[in-house]
């Protein structure tokens, strides 16, 4: 009995062989997140050489605060893109979620911050479910249904804020400290260390457990040194983050330091969504439907339910982006440009490497894409290039990402 041959990277015993096999994969067009990581590093180096303040503790924490909305919107859009669909409503769904939360939390309702946030998220989820039902049951095109969601969402936003007598000038302020701290607040220096150490330890234990289980089952396993290297890389990144964050970024008079709460906030969502897509049946079916809906149907997958749930999750994630948006600005008004934000949502996912053609992409791509967008805006602002230049650069980056996606898609089809 012969076992099927396995690819080089799976039988590589040493790190060197593994790297060589990975390089082969990249040359074959299966690059994954690598181009965007390389791009991000180049952008960071470029800005740092232009302005040495770019990598300062103050600016880095600014950057992290600014990226939350883009990253979460990119994740929201990923749910639709993975199915080969699109969700144009995310920008205004985000605004509706934020408005519901802010109104409930503010006078005269004064609802507890947690319940207010939960209500905001629930409204978003219902909104997404209705769109998902129309798309999956009536087989309407997602482009049109979510376009209606965009227009209707803007209407709902204006209605909510105009009706609110406690919103002078069309704006509602956040009163809860907790809601404010999602994007603005930071933990104490020691808490930062503890959280980081626990997180790295859990990751390390999990990685080792996975390695053990594979190799003890007699399956081809990547070398142990690679697992060790991954854990070490995460540990180094964690230490660097805490060290930079614990640096005083305030003034001489006001001490300000500590890891921003938005970091664990995003990390937890990223982990939950990554597990959802990579380790559950639902996630597997998302990829299957994005790859070949007919095959998914014949395999007995309830395609309509998965498709509906994807739009629920997209809107729910837009709601999470709304909480960060609310926290970042400290208020919400009728002037939110949801039409623009949805474009950032698509851009973040696509720049990060998620395919527009469905079936390819991960949640971490949205994180990377969101970071690229934020870095470009932040850095160009620092070197005093105005909005005109910033938008044009983002446009070029987006085009580059779509070109890479389309070319590799064509390459796969052509094989």
């Amino acid at each position: 009995m012969t076992t099927p041959e396995v690819s080089n990277e799976l039988v590589a015993d040493s790190l060197g062989e593994y790297a060589a096999a990975q390089w082969k994969r990249i040359k074959a067009g299966e690059s994954g997140a690598l181009p965007v990581i390389v791009g991000l590093v180049i952008i960071v180096i470029a800005f740092q050489t232009q302005n040495s303040k770019f990598l300062s503790a103050t600016n880095l924490s600014n950057l992290i605060q600014q990226c939350g909305v883009f990253v979460l919107l990119g994740m929201a859009e990923s749910f639709a893109l993975l199915l080969g669909e699109i969700d144009l409503s995310t920008g205004y769904v985000m605004a509706i979620g934020a408005t519901v939360t802010a109104e409930l939390n503010a006078p005269p309702h004064n609802v507890n911050w947690f319940l207010a946030a939960l209500a905001g998220l629930a409204v978003c989820a219902v909104f997404g479910t209705i769109m998902g039902l129309l798309i999956s049951r009536l087989a309407l095109p997602s482009f049109v249904v979510t376009l209606a969601g965009l227009l209707g969402g803007e209407g709902i936003l204006l209605y909510l804020i105009q009706k609110d007598k406690y919103a002078p000038g069309g704006s509602i302020s956040v009163t809860s400290n907790v809601l404010n701290d999602i994007d603005q607040g930071s933990m104490s220096n020691s808490t930062g260390w503890i959280v980081m150490i626990v997180a790295v330890a859990v990751f390390g234990a999990f990685a080792l457990f996975q390695h053990r289980r594979r190799s003890s089952s007699g399956l081809v396993t990547a070398p142990l040194s690679l697992t060790a290297l991954k854990v070490a890389a995460v540990a180094i990144a964690g230490v660097a983050l805490v060290l930079i964050s614990n640096h005083n970024r305030g003034s001489l008079l006001v001490h300000l330091s500590g890891v921003l709460w938005i970091v664990p906030f995003l990390a937890v969502i990223l982990i939950v969504y990554t597990v959802l897509l990579g380790r559950t049946r639902f996630g597997r079916y998302m990829y299957a439907i994005g790859g070949n809906p007919e095959a998914a149907k014949r395999a007995g997958i309830r395609v309509k339910n998965v498709r509906m749930l994807a739009f629920t999750l997209s809107s729910l994630t837009a709601g999470l982006a709304g909480l960060v948006y609310l926290s970042q600005l400290g208020s919400i008004g009728s002037d939110v440009d949801g039409g623009n934000y949805v474009l950032y949502a698509v851009a973040a996912a696509v720049i990060g490497g998620t395919s527009l053609f469905g079936g390819r992409g991960k949640m971490v791509n949205a994180l990377l894409g969101g970071l690229v967008i934020t870095t470009i805006y932040n850095g160009m602002g620092l070197i005093q290039i105005g909005a005109a230049g910033q938008d044009m650069v983002i446009a070029v980056v987006l085009l580059a990402a779509v070109t890479v996606d389309a070319l590799s898609h064509r390459g796969r089809i052509g094989r």
Partner: protein, 264 residues
């Protein structure tokens, strides 16, 4: 010639064993068009039955009826001796009928293991059990002697036509299918790939799985089939042991629906 012996043994069994699948006077019409008329067919465990016929003879209608896509308008279908009413692909799958259509219905973006288990993934604490899937997939593929794939974690989109057939067959094996229906499995394949797929068919039948194979290629048909069933204008022109028929007679049956004096 292990296969010839196997064929002989199965032929002897035929009289004593209940057929796995038996169609009795099955008819199907689409409005005024009579696609199948009183079709009779028996398939025994481990047997390879080739279904041949000219274009429009009713081959596709027949496999779609067996696989539950369309309900027959008349006649009875027996599965392991009991009458069944197959009302959809799920019913067919529950009985142990796996149908491989020409387009194969695989997801190009998923890897071999993921495709083999699609829709039936084993779970551990609610999460996908990749380790169990990979072990079972590797065993199934090696049982089928599929050794040409580079890695079972490679995307199906990067496989050749024959390898894709192999993945589809492996999927059917994992389902514990008792009857695998293959629609033109070699139509788009080159010579060596065709040989590989025909080998898979033999491996399947050696392990006791019955195979109903539709093919236009009589060379392929004669190389794997134990029985050859010929459809002619919606009628069953006859089912013959492959050893008692030659290519010319098969062509005659396909084109005229009957054997001339040459056979008598």
């Amino acid at each position: 010639m292990a296969n010839a012996q196997g064929t002989e043994a199965r032929s002897k069994d035929r009289a004593s064993v209940t057929p796995l699948l038996k169609l009795s006077r099955v008819s199907k019409n689409f409005g005024p068009v009579q696609a199948l008329t009183d079709v009779e067919l028996e398939i025994y465990p481990g047997e390879v039955v080739a279904l041949v016929g000219d274009n429009g003879a009713g081959k596709s209608t027949m496999i779609k009826t067996v696989s539950g896509m369309w309900a027959p308008d008349g006649g009875q279908v027996f599965w392991e001796g009991k009458e069944v009413h197959v009302r959809g692909p799920r019913d067919a799958a529950a009985l142990g009928i796996a149908t491989m259509y020409q387009d194969l219905a695989l997801c190009d973006n998923l890897d071999i293991v993921q495709n083999m288990f699609l829709g039936r993934e084993p779970r551990r604490f609610g999460f996908l059990d990749e380790t169990a899937m990979e072990i079972a997939a590797r065993k199934t593929l090696s049982d089928l002697s599929v050794t040409t794939v580079r890695s079972i974690r490679q995307a199906v989109g990067s496989l050749s036509g024959g390898q894709r057939q192999a993945v589809a067959v492996a999927r059917a094996v994992l389902e514990d299918a008792k009857l695998v229906i293959m629609d033109e499995p070699t139509a788009a394949l080159g010579v060596s790939q065709t040989a590989m797929v025909l080998n898979l068919v033999k491996t399947l039948s050696d392990s006791g799985v019955a195979v109903l194979i539709i093919s236009h290629n009589l060379v392929d048909v004669f190389s794997v089939a134990d029985q050859i069933a010929v459809l002619y204008l919606g009628h069953m022109a006859g089912t013959y042991p492959a050893s008692q028929l030659d290519t010319q007679q098969a062509v005659e049956l396909i084109t005229t629906g009957a054997l001339g004096k040459a056979h008598e």
